[in-house]
């Protein structure tokens, strides 16, 4: 069974919000209608977003680092928001594992948002329905756009390729390899929701160099000349038999 998901690399995310704006641009222009966007240039700007980037300072200055943390619906494999929905508007697609909201069935009771421990759902104050990341379901299957572009808008927008997209159930997919090899993890695993989206941790690339490695030690004569050789009849062992 396919389970499409995003893998977000916290090691390369620079917190530019390109995914946020690209997501909003794509999804506010779709056939589901615009997403709320109130007072965008005024006091108290607010609105509906499928994707937000939060920023955390980890540690205390000066021993601190900045973690930009994009969060959107994690498309859980056992989504707690789906069974609580009284109308069946929230559902998980069998064929690709995307969790979606049917905006024509949603009554806007907000019960699903209470049941989501990740805060991934946002109520649209104008359309009065619950909204959430669709993994750009109207884009990834659109045969009118080139195949290379059939990816979620946030993935296409990310300038540092911090967002990977693919099938996490396929062990050979780009995302599965990234999860496997870079220590991908799920959020709040203690609740057993089994989120499909994974995060790759911050990691340090270090090389350890000892001081004696900086000094050339295998040239005792300190000269770049031909080495003296022994008599021709003596057994040799390069660089080992000494002079």
């Amino acid at each position: 069974m396919t389970q499409l998901a995003l893998v977000i690399d916290l090691n390369v995310c620079v917190g530019c919000h390109a995914c946020v704006t690209s997501c909003k641009e794509w999804n506010t222009s779709g056939m589901a209608g615009s997403m709320a966007d109130d007072n965008p240039y005024d006091a108290d700007p607010t609105g509906t977003f499928f994707n937000r980037v939060q920023t955390f300072e980890v540690g205390e200055y000066p021993c601190s680092e900045t973690v930009h943390f994009p969060k959107s619906c994690l498309h859980c494999e056992d989504p707690p928001c789906v069974p609580v929905c009284p109308t069946g508007a929230s559902y998980k697609r069998e064929e690709d594992g995307i969790v979606l909201v049917d905006y024509d069935k949603c009554i806007g009771c907000k019960y699903c948002s209470w049941a989501c421990p990740y805060g991934a759902r946002e109520f649209d104050e104008h359309q009065k329905v619950m909204k959430k990341c669709t993994l750009c379901v109207d884009r990834i299957y659109d045969e009118n756009i080139p195949e290379a572009e059939r990816k979620p808008a946030c993935v296409r927008a990310c300038p540092t390729s911090a967002r990977l997209y693919g099938d996490v159930h396929d062990p050979d997919s780009e995302v599965s390899i990234a999860i496997r090899e870079a220590g991908g993890y799920q959020l709040m695993p203690e609740w057993g929701t089994n989120p499909a989206n994974h995060y790759l941790p911050r990691r340090k690339t270090k090389i350890r160099i000892h001081e004696d490695e900086l000094v050339r030690a295998d040239n005792p004569l300190k000269k770049e000349t031909d080495r003296p050789t022994g008599p021709i009849d003596e057994p040799t062992l390069d660089d080992v038999t000494s002079w």
Binding site: H17, V20, T21, N39, P40, Y41, A43, D44, P45, T46, G47, F49, R52, V53, Q54, T55, F56, E57, V58, G59, T66, V67, F69, P80, V82, P83, V84, C85, P86, T87, G88, A89, K105, C106, I107, G108, C109, K110, Y111, S113, W114, A115, C116, P117, Y118, G119, R121, E122, F123, Q127, K128, V129, Y185, L187, M188, P189, E190, W191, Y199, P201
Partner: protein, 383 residues
């Protein structure tokens, strides 16, 4: 949680209506076996009418918290998985059962179906009422389980939640029944008032138990598991929004801290000891005014109890937000008047500001939730 007032009124009104019906049926079944003097059908009919009005009012207010009330009929479709859907089905069923019960009493259909000598020769209403009682208990279960089934909301996720809904609703219904009996059937006042007091005392035990349980609750999730970074010190620098989002509006009650802290003690007094006192005084003096004040004070207390029930619950998601920052950031924006631009959440942080850390937030939350909270020092706003 930010409580919707329609849900507060819904749960308290239907609780009282269900309790009133249970009280009527209890007195009828006692009189059927000649433990109580039998009442006329009119008494039960008008009592049922009051219960139906309360339930219908509750049902009507519940529509106000829906974004699309015209699609409410769809909520009956997912009863296999959703407790909310089950409640939506059972509530009209209870309403109908009580209405039929009242109508049969009003029409005086003294049918004897089983031929048992019950003294009132009227076991049709007893049978209809038994079905109503079954449905009423199911409705209490559904209402409670709507909240208790969300395991992430640890304050709600306990068997005490449906038990409290059952006992608090029944207590207020029996109190209302005592008022009603004081007006039209004074010989039932001691019986109904006595039961009201017994149920009230058991509700006090379970509600206090849930308060103690919640005060000792250890959150299963933390900011560390929420973002998967294992570090003890983390500070939120940006929430990903400027003027608040659905999450900051929905998961923070936004009430002043003094109100939030005091309301627990206010509702504990208004729901339990005060009605208890008024009930016993009113019963002994047969004073409708005192009994009515007992019911009204208790209902006011129940509204507060329900408000607290919703507010008290911190979604674990809310732990990812620096609560103190929610306000100060906006205040800073308002004072400087800087435009946020197109990027939500990217605002220069004033250098003079010492942002509260997550650990201080946790401390603040612990203070709010502890039984004897200390005052939280006010933080100076940036100038």
């Amino acid at each position: 949680m930010h409580p919707a007032f329609s849900v507060i009124f819904l749960t308290t009104l239907i609780g009282t209506g269900q309790g009133l019906f249970l009280a009527l049926y209890t007195s009828e079944s006692y009189s059927a076996v000649k433990l109580l003097p039998a009442q006329s059908g009119v008494f039960y009919a008008w009592g049922s009418a009051i219960a139906v009005v309360l339930l219908a009012l509750g049902l009507a207010t519940s529509f106000f918290h829906l974004g699309h009330p015209e699609r409410a009929w769809r909520t009956a479709t997912k009863w296999r998985t959703s407790w909310l859907s089950r409640e939506v089905i059972v509530l009209p069923a209870v309403l109908g059962a009580i209405a039929v019960y009242g109508v049969v009493h009003a029409l005086g259909w003294n049918l004897t179906l089983f031929g048992i000598d019950t003294g009132v020769s009227n076991d049709l209403t007893l049978i209809i009422g038994a079905g109503g009682v079954l449905l009423t208990f199911t409705l209490f279960l559904c209402t409670g389980m709507i909240y208790a089934c969300i395991k992430f909301l640890q304050e709600w996720s306990t068997w005490l939640t449906p038990v409290n809904y059952l006992l608090l609703g029944t207590a207020s219904g029996f109190t209302l029944a005592t008022v009603y009996a004081a007006l039209y059937a004074p010989e039932l006042v001691y019986f109904l008032g006595g039961w009201a007091i017994i149920i009230l005392l058991s509700a006090f035990v379970t509600r206090t138990a849930s308060l103690i349980r919640n005060a000792r609750l250890k959150p299963k999730s933390s900011l560390q598991t929420a973002i998967g970074v294992r570090h003890q010190t983390m500070t939120q620098r940006s929430q990903g929004q400027m003027g608040g989002s659905y999450n900051t509006r929905e998961y923070f009650h936004g009430a002043p801290m003094w109100l939030f802290r005091s309301i627990k003690w206010v509702f504990l007094v208004l729901v339990f000891p005060l009605p208890l006192l008024l009930l016993s005084v009113g019963m002994n003096n047969l004073s409708v005014a005192i009994l009515l004040s007992a019911f009204l004070i208790q209902y006011l207390g129940l509204l507060m109890e329900r408000w607290f029930f919703f507010c008290f619950n911190e979604s674990i998601m809310a732990r990812c937000y620096d609560r103190a920052q929610c306000k100060t950031r906006l205040t800073f924006w308002a004072q400087t008047g800087r435009s946020p631009g197109i990027f939500p959440g990217l605002l220069p942080v004033p250098a003079s500001r010492t942002w509260p850390s997550i650990s201080s937030m946790c401390w603040q939350m612990a203070v709010c939730l502890s039984p004897n909270p200390e005052p939280v020092p006010e933080r100076p706003l940036p100038t």
